[in-house]
C-alpha cells in the first residue's frame, strides 16, 4: 500500500505562545519547531499499516528550509521518502492555498516515484491555527473520497474500511481507494526514533519541489490580539473551613443549582 502523509511544522505545542507586544505577532522566537502532533499520529498510523500491508510511506511538507529538520525526523520514524515544497511564506497562506500546493505536490511526487498513492493521511488539525481544513480541501481538489477524525483504517480489496470518531460515537465507513483521511489521536502513541534510524534518516535526501504557480488566499488575517482579561473574582478566605463551605453554599444557591 502506497501512502502519503502531509506534515506541518508548528511551534512546540507544550509552550504557551503569547503575543509579542512590539511586533503584534505571535512571539515564536526560541520556540522549538516540531511536527504537528496530529501529523505524528497520522505517520504512526501509516507506519503500522506499512508493517502489516507493505508498501512505502512518503512525507511531504510545505515551507522553507527549516522544515527539513522535521522531515528528517519523519524519515527516522517510518517514512521512506521526504519531499519539501519550497515556499518561503507558507504561514501566510490560507488552508485553501496550502491544499492547492499539496495537490500539485501529489501529482509531482507520483510522477517522480512512478507510483499512485492509495491513501493520503493528514492530521485532523494543527496545534497552531487549528483550521482543520487542509485534508478535506485537498481531497476535494483531488476529487477523492475523504473521511475525517479517523482512528483506524484497514485496506480491503479496492476499498478502505475506516473507523471514524464522532461526537455521538463511532462510524464504520467504507471509502473507495484511493482516498484521503484526517487522523484523530488513536489509542497508541507515535514511536520514538532509535539511534540507528536517526543515522539512516540523516543519509536520506529530502527532495525539493516547487509550488504551483498561482496560490492566492481567500482569507485575510486583519490582525492578531490578546483575548480580553476578566476582572478578578471574589476571594473566599480559607482559614476557617466551615465559613468557606457556608460561602460556597450561598454561591451555589445563587447559581440556582439547588
Amino acid at each position: 500500500m502506497e501512502m502519503l502523509v502531509c506534515i506541518k511544522q508548528v511551534p512546540d505545542d507544550s509552550v504557551e505562545i503569547s503575543l509579542d507586544l512590539g511586533t503584534k505577532e505571535p512571539a515564536l522566537i526560541g520556540v522549538t519547531p516540531v511536527v504537528n502532533a496530529f501529523d505524528t499520529y497520522a505517520l504512526e498510523m501509516a507506519a503500522r499499516l506499512k508493517e502489516t500491508f507493505g508498501g512505502e510511506i512518503t512525507v511531504v511538507s510545505v515551507g522553507n528550509d527549516e522544515v527539513k529538520n522535521s522531515l528528517k525526523n519523519c524519515l527516522a520514524v517510518g517514512a521512506d521518502h521526504a519531499y519539501l515544497v519550497k515556499h518561503e511564506k507558507s504561514e501566510s497562506l490560507d488552508p485553501c492555498g496550502i491544499a492547492n500546493i499539496l495537490k500539485k505536490a501529489v501529482h509531482d511526487i507520483e510522477g517522480e516515484l512512478e507510483t499512485k498513492f492509495d491513501l493520503i493521511l493528514c492530521g485532523k488539525e494543527s496545534t497552531d491555527y487549528a483550521s482543520s481544513q487542509v485534508g478535506l480541501l485537498l481531497a476535494s481538489k483531488l476529487r477523492l473520497p475523504v473521511a475525517t477524525n479517523i482512528i483506524k483504517v484497514e485496506p480491503m480489496d479496492g476499498i478502505m474500511r475506516i473507523k471514524q470518531e464522532t461526537e455521538e460515537g463511532y462510524r464504520s465507513i467504507e471509502a473507495k481507494t484511493p482516498c484521503v483521511v484526517t487522523v484523530q489521536k488513536p489509542d497508541y502513541d507515535p514511536r520514538y526514533p532509535t539511534i540507528k534510524s536517526k543515522m539512516a534518516a540523516r543519509k536520506k535526501e529530502i527532495k525539493e519541489l516547487s509550488p504551483s504557480e498561482e496560490v492566492s488566499s481567500m482569507l485575510e488575517v486583519i490582525r492578531v490580539f490578546e483575548p480580553a482579561k476578566r476582572v478578578a473574582g471574589i476571594k473566599l478566605k480559607a482559614d476557617n473551613e466551615q465559613e468557606v463551605v457556608a460561602q460556597a453554599m450561598s454561591v451555589m444557591t445563587a447559581a440556582k443549582v439547588f
Binding site: 478535506l136 473521511a147 464504520s172 473574582g233 480559607a238
Partner: protein, 397 residues
C-alpha cells in the same frame, strides 16, 4: 504576486540566457527554459537577456465580486435523524443579530430524510425562510450528496454569510462546501461581527487560545464560518411561529456517493457534559483515580457531572469525552467547580463562558483564579468532604 513568462521562441541560445541568472533560477526542462522556485525577481534576465524573451507580469487584481448579489445570513441546521442540534438555534440567534446590521434576512438550510415535519420547530426561533431538502439519499450524513445539496442551496439563494455548527458533521461539510464554492472558511469562530458593507469579521483563537486572530473574506462570497456549540447565546423559543418553509428539489444525479456508511456504533448512552447545568472538574490536583469518586458524589448531589482537564484524560482515569478545553469540549454550565485545576489557557478557553465559575486550588497564584468568579485558596481534599456533608444536611439526605 508578480511572475515571469518565458517566450521560448525568442531565445536563440538557451544556455546563454540560463547563465545570466545569478541565482540559478533558470533551467532547461524538456527543451524549454523554465523559471524555478529560486527566482528572486531581480529581473536581471529581462534586462540582459535576449529582447522580449523574458516578460515580467504583475498579476492583475481579480475583478471584485458584486457583493450586492449576495444577501442574507444562512444557518445550516445540524441534526441527527431530524432531531435538531441545539447549536443550530444558537446560530440562528447570532444570524439574526448579524442580519439586523445589514437589514437582510435569515435563512436556514435543513436537509435530511423525512424531516419535513421537524422543520416546523425552526420557525419558533425567528428564521425568515427555512429551505428544506427532504430526500431518501440524505438519510445519513454523507459528504458528497450533502455538499451537492449545499451547493444547490447557495446557488439558488446566494446568502452573503453562512454559519455552520462545528459538530462532527459541520466540520466535514463546511470545508467541502467552501472548496466547491471557491470561497474562504474560518473554523471555530468565537466572535462574529457583521459590518454594514456585509463583510463578516471572524474572530477565532490560535496557538491554544493565547492569541486571537481577526479574519476577513474580503473578495469572496459566501463567507463561511463554523462555530462550536455553547459559544453563542441560545435564543428563547417563541410561542408563535414566524417565517416560511420553502420545499426544495434538485437533480437526483448529484446525490450519489463514493463513501458508504456501513454502520453506526453508538457510544454508551449518556448525557454529554455540554448539556449539564453543573460540572465538577477534576484536574491534576486529584492524586488517585478513586479520589474522583469524591467529586462524583458532589456532582451527583448537585445534579451534575464530572468533567476533567487534559492530563486527567490522558492518564486514562477519565474518558476523553469528558475533557474540557480547546482540544476537548466547550461547556457553559450554570455552575462549574474546578478542583485542582491550574487554569491553563487551553482549559479556560473551553469554560470561561460558564455562568458561575468556582475554583478550588491550593496555589494562590494559580491562573484559574483570573477566570473564576469565586476563588477558594485551599486543599479540595479538606473542603469537598465538608461541602458534601453540608449539602446532604441541607437536602436532608
Amino acid at each position: 504576486m508578480a511572475r515571469l513568462i518565458v517566450h521560448q521562441e525568442r531565445i536563440p541560445d538557451h544556455q546563454e540566457l540560463i547563465n545570466i541568472c545569478p541565482f540559478g533560477a533558470l533551467e532547461e526542462q524538456d527543451g524549454k527554459v523554465v523559471v524555478n522556485a529560486a527566482c528572486k525577481m531581480c529581473r536581471l534576465c529581462i534586462k540582459k537577456g535576449p529582447e522580449g524573451a523574458m516578460e515580467y507580469v504583475e498579476d492583475v487584481k481579480k475583478p471584485e465580486i458584486n457583493k450586492d448579489e449576495w444577501k442574507g445570513v444562512a444557518v445550516y441546521a445540524d441534526h441527527v435523524d431530524g432531531t435538531i442540534h441545539p447549536v443550530t438555534f444558537e446560530l440562528i440567534g447570532k444570524a439574526k443579530e448579524m442580519a439586523a446590521v445589514t437589514g437582510q434576512e435569515v435563512y436556514v438550510l435543513f436537509m435530511g430524510n423525512e424531516i419535513r415535519d421537524k422543520s416546523e420547530e425552526i420557525l419558533h426561533y425567528g428564521a425568515d425562510k427555512v429551505f428544506v431538502y427532504d430526500k431518501e439519499e440524505l438519510a445519513r450524513f454523507k459528504i458528497e450528496p450533502y455538499t451537492a445539496v449545499f451547493e444547490d442551496f447557495i446557488k439558488k439563494v446566494k446568502p452573503s454569510s453562512i454559519l455552520v455548527g462545528a459538530t462532527t458533521v459541520g466540520r466535514q461539510l463546511a470545508p467541502r462546501v467552501a472548496a466547491r464554492m471557491k470561497t474562504g472558511l474560518t473554523a471555530d469562530c468565537t466572535i462574529l461581527e457583521m459590518n454594514e458593507n456585509s463583510d463578516l469579521s471572524q474572530i477565532r483563537p490560535a496557538f491554544g487560545g493565547n492569541i486571537m486572530a481577526h479574519i476577513k473574506t474580503p473578495n469572496h462570497r459566501p463567507q463561511i464560518a463554523t462555530v462550536r456549540y455553547k459559544i453563542m447565546n441560545a435564543p428563547a423559543r417563541a410561542e408563535s411561529k414566524s417565517g416560511v418553509i420553502v420545499d426544495c428539489d434538485m437533480d437526483q444525479e448529484m446525490l450519489s456517493s463514493h463513501v458508504d456508511v456501513i454502520d453506526i456504533l453508538p457510544k454508551a448512552k449518556e448525557t454529554f457534559i455540554e448539556n449539564s447545568d453543573v460540572l465538577v472538574v477534576a484536574g491534576r490536583g486529584v492524586k488517585k483515580e478513586e479520589d474522583i469518586n469524591m467529586l462524583r458524589e458532589l456532582a451527583d448531589l448537585l445534579g451534575g457531572q464530572v468533567a476533567c482537564t487534559r492530563p486527567m484524560a490522558e492518564s486514562g482515569w477519565m474518558d476523553a469525552k469528558y475533557q474540557i478545553g480547546l482540544s476537548g469540549r466547550t461547556v457553559r454550565p450554570k455552575l462549574i467547580i474546578t478542583c485542582g485545576v491550574s487554569g491553563a489557557i487551553q482549559f479556560v478557553a473551553g469554560m470561561n463562558h460558564s455562568d458561575t465559575i468556582f475554583a478550588i486550588n491550593n496555589d494562590p497564584k494559580a491562573p484559574i483564579f483570573k477566570s473564576a468568579h469565586y476563588c477558594l485558596v485551599g486543599d479540595f481534599y479538606d473542603i469537598l468532604p465538608k461541602l458534601i456533608a453540608k449539602i446532604k444536611e441541607k437536602e436532608g439526605v
